[in-house]
Symmetry: C2
Subunit: 166 residues, 2 copies
């Protein structure tokens, strides 16, 4: 039998280069969801997190301060997407749409902005029109939809799996 | 440009066979975390969810009823693990330990029980001693630890990616 002994405070995995990964959140309903996304994004080494609309991070959930993990706040999504496109980011939305790709099979490019929509409404039509790709996550059972922070977790995980060292 | 049009109520992905995947939760501190895990597990088509210790599912978070997604409740973890082992499940813990494998590189077998530990304490020594494998998830940034529901999401996603149709 292999022996497993706790290593609760293992050093983090180091990146060979800073991640070229931006996470963009449309205006969300829930600051709890947003705060959970902040924690996961910071743990994944996301380079920039952009939020749109009014938002308030719950420090107890995010577990990371604005000094440690800065968040860029903008009023609306479309100008952010246009700006990221002009910086050379591939814009990948997380949504169920026509022509969407299965996240399991999607190959990210390094310089990617993952774009996450509102819990109820998803991404608006004008945001969808600005995207290069849409990825969706297979759902197998009730309630037939992932929580927004859960779906974001899966997309960040898949990107990190494809670029384990940055 | 590709056109992306919302399909918010797409039919779920069908499995060719029922998942041979069991998710086992050690006694957790937070029923919120547990309820989030319930929603994600049900969406992923997990066959059986086993919880240990006192627990109460928040239906608003889980979004699935006990009739739709039954949960097996047990008092303690070790007997559950022994029973699953005798049923032929490979027991895979989610933890940072010596000899743990990177989730990015781990090949699951179909018949797997993923075992999740407490938010603060992780899996106990006696639980670790019953496992076949431990997988850990690379962490790149502060706060250097994933929330338990987030880590569970990543493990379930990776299993589903390896067995997309059951």
């Amino acid at each position: 039998m292999t022996e497993f002994v706790h290593q609760r405070h293992k050093p983090p995995t180091s990146l060979e280069r800073a991640r070229d990964l931006v996470l963009v959140c449309a205006p969300l309903r829930s600051n709890v969801n947003l705060s959970r996304i902040v924690r996961t994004a910071s743990c994944c080494g996301v380079a920039r997190l952009v939020t749109c609309g009014p938002s308030k991070i719950d420090a107890k959930i995010a577990r990371v301060s604005p000094e440690e993990f800065p968040i860029e706040k903008h009023r609306s999504l479309a100008p952010v997407l246009k700006s990221l496109r002009s910086e050379g980011y591939q814009l990948v939305g997380l949504e169920q749409t026509t022509n969407s790709c299965n996240l399991h099979e999607f190959s990210f490019v390094r310089k990617t902005a993952i774009v996450v929509g509102n819990e109820r409404l998803g991404l608006t039509e004008d945001a969808l029109a600005l995207l290069d790709y849409v990825v969706e996550i297979p759902v197998y059972g009730l309630p037939f939809s992932y929580n927004v922070a859960t779906a974001t977790t899966m997309a960040l995980y898949e990107y990190c799996r494809q670029f384990p060292s940055g």
